[in-house]
């Protein structure tokens, strides 16, 4: 089986073939490896590479829908597998229609303040809305320079993660 894997924005083509019990031939961008892999619990994978080099990795769904998080030696990276990722909501907004970008709630919360109104010109990374969650006020910024096409929420409203708050054109 062949997968397009993107880690931290860098894409690789990885194919996996079972070689023997617990052993797999894994080819990364044309380079073959013979890897001993065992599942540990629901999300863990213990890998023994060439020369018995041991790497312990966990792969679990993240908070955002469709997101997979790969944990490796205390660090965490988002993985995109075959382009499947409904999108990690980002402070810099998700993509919208052509030329338009939306500022999306990255977590459930409450709209504290709107910093712009429809028709306002905004600079890239200008704060546009303040969302409160976990006792913190988080200022979300405009993903690009442009004009506010739509303000889809009102102050005081509760929003779910992924909700479009403001559209910039």
């Amino acid at each position: 089986m062949t997968f397009d894997i993107e880690i931290n924005g860098r894409a690789r083509v990885v194919s996996v073939e079972r070689a023997a019990a617990g052993r797999y031939r894994v080819t990364v961008d044309g380079t073959p490896h013979l890897i001993d892999a065992e599942r540990v619990g629901s999300f863990g994978l213990s890998l023994l590479m060439d020369g018995g080099v041991s790497r312990d990795v966990q792969i679990a769904p993240g908070g955002a829908p469709g997101e997979m998080l790969v944990r490796l030696d205390g660090r965490t990276a988002a993985a995109l597998i075959d382009g499947r990722r409904t999108g990690r909501a980002s402070a810099d907004g998700g993509t919208h229609a052509r030329g338009e970008q939306a500022v999306v709630a990255p977590m459930p919360g409450r709209i504290v303040r709107l910093l712009v109104s429809r028709g306002d010109d905004v600079a890239a990374r200008q704060g546009v809305v303040v969302v409160e969650a976990m006792k913190m006020e988080n200022e979300l910024r405009s993903p690009k320079a442009g004009r506010v096409k739509d303000v889809a929420v009102t102050a005081g409203a509760s929003v779910e993660a992924g909700r479009v708050l403001i559209v910039i054109e």
Partner: protein, 505 residues
């Protein structure tokens, strides 16, 4: 003594642990979303007190006092946050004949007003940072406020009178940002503390945050402990604390401890409290505020002095005498560091990352302590503070503690949500942190300089491992024997498990 814990999360678990070691029964309280929280499961009893919003549950004095009465508790430990520094709550406990494990309502009220506390310190002969002596009148015009600010001198801080934990606080560099900073500080102060009053204080340019933990008993004894340093702050919120401070000499330690004890004595303080100071570059120190409760960072003091502060709180509340050796309390054995693990995504500007914890393996091993409030299967709610655990590392020296912390962070596994662990791993490697060259502005400056690079920067080899693991994971899921994937009913699941066991025989 049966103790009701008027709190949640890691501190509720911490208090339950102390009670259990002392053989005391515990009562937890919980809101709707905390039914399966760890403190509920670990307490001897647990009572529901209301909906998830803190204002309707953990902040409801009547509901908590009622829960105490119903459960037969005769004492209340408030933890930190929520009602811990609410004088009306301490008074309500007293009125209901419940022992409040903390200072008197009078001491809480007095020191809870940051402006009144500054007055106490001044009278006790302890220097305070220049600032307004009264809360800022909310009827003042912008111009009038600007004149007050000019008198103190820029740069300034606007701070909530009822404040703490960096909430309701803003920095002000010049006149132009004054009105908006005051407005947002008032708004945050109102939502965090229910009190919108603020005051102005001169901002020292490169101060270190040094604080003295102390215990006082009901017989007039005050024992100050070796200092903690909490200069590693993000937006005025402590994220790493340690003890002792690299910037404090034994001579300075004695002077700061004496000053702290003088402030505590001036208000007849009993139980656990902390006096916070700013230490300026020239070695002078200033009283900042007093926290009339147990602090988040109390474990670092416990680790270097081998003291259980929570157990002492309970003993003091029972009327016992503090018989600690004051010299030992002021002497650090080794060095301890604490990292506050938040459910936040450091790569997204520390945006909250609530949600289901799918996997959890806390760090352990020599010199490591994990004070956690969560477990697998628990969903970190959006309603409260985002701290899920505190990781503490002890070492014979500061550099040993840093190495141990790095090792422990690497071990600490939290799956399903983002945490600040990758950020701490990065911080522990920063040369200025390792050298102890920092002040309260260090971390914010460092973060600005990073311009949003990922804290989980992987080498290309690591990226390749991550790619291989992701592909193997997808392959194994796709090729999993189809019955194993069918989790339609628990019965078939059990049957399959039994069948697999039989095959293995």
């Amino acid at each position: 003594m049966k103790i009701l814990i008027a709190n949640r999360g890691e501190i509720a678990v911490r208090i339950i642990r102390a009670c259990r070691e002392m053989g005391l029964p515990t009562v937890a309280v919980y809101s709707d979303c905390d039914r399966t929280a760890r403190h509920v499961r670990e307490a001897d009893q647990a009572l529901h007190i209301g909906p998830s919003e803190a204002a309707s549950s953990y902040l409801r004095i009547d509901a908590i006092v009622d829960a105490a009465r119903k459960s037969g508790a005769d004492a209340v430990h408030p933890g930190y946050g929520f009602l811990a520094e609410n004088a009306a709550f301490a008074a309500a406990c007293r009125d209901a004949r419940l022992t409040f494990i903390g200072p008197s309502p009078e001491a809480i009220a007095l020191m809870g007003s940051k402006t009144a506390a500054r007055e106490v310190a001044r009278k006790a002969g302890v220097p305070v940072v220049p600032g307004t002596e009264q809360p800022l009148d909310d009827q003042l015009s912008d111009d009038e406020v600007a004149r007050v600010a000019d008198r103190i001198g820029f740069p300034l801080l606007v701070k909530a009178v009822a404040g703490g934990g960096g909430k309701g606080m803003r920095t002000i560099d010049d006149r132009s940002s004054l009105p908006s900073a005051i407005r947002s500080a008032r708004s945050e102060a109102r939502s965090s503390f229910g009190d919108a009053s603020v005051y102005l204080e001169r901002r020292l340019v490169r101060p270190r945050h040094i604080e003295i933990q102390l215990l006082g008993d009901e017989h007039g004894t005050i024992v100050p402990f070796v200092e903690r340093e909490c200069s590693i702050q993000r937006r005025h919120q402590k994220v790493v604390e340690e003890s002792p401070s690299i910037a404090v000499t034994p001579e300075l330690r004695r002077r700061i401890a004496d000053a702290a004890a003088a402030v505590a004595r001036a208000v007849n303080y009993s139980n656990a409290g902390t006096i916070e100071f700013l230490l300026d570059e020239d070695g002078s120190f200033y009283f900042l505020e007093m926290n009339t409760r147990l602090q988040v960072e109390h474990p670092v003091t416990e680790m270097v002095t081998s003291t259980d502060l929570v157990q002492w709180q309970i003993r003091i509340a029972r009327g016992e005498r503090l018989d600690l050796n004051p010299e030992a309390a002021l002497t650090a054995h080794g060095h301890a560091i604490e990292c506050r693990i938040y459910a936040e995504d450091p790569d997204l500007g520390f945006m909250p990352s609530p949600g289901l914890i799918r996997g959890l393996r806390p760090a352990s091993g020599p010199g490591v302590r994990d004070d956690s409030g969560v477990s697998v299967g628990y969903s970190v709610p959006v309603f409260y503070d985002s701290m899920i655990a505190k990781l503490v590392a002890w070492g014979g020296s500061r550099s040993e503690a840093i190495e141990r912390m790095s090792r422990a962070l690497r071990e600490y596994e939290v799956l399903g949500i983002r945490t600040t662990i990758p950020f701490f791993l990065w911080l522990m490697r920063q040369p200025d942190y390792v050298a102890g060259r920092y002040d309260t502005t260090y971390l914010d400056r460092l973060l600005v300089d990073r311009k949003g690079e990922s804290f989980s920067e992987l080498t290309s080899e690591d990226e390749e491992i991550a790619s291989i693991a992701s592909a193997l994971d997808a392959y194994l899921r796709a090729n999993a024997h189809s019955p194993a994937a069918g989790r339609s009913s628990s019965t078939t699941h059990w049957k399959q498990a039994a069948r697999r066991e039989a095959l293995r025989e």
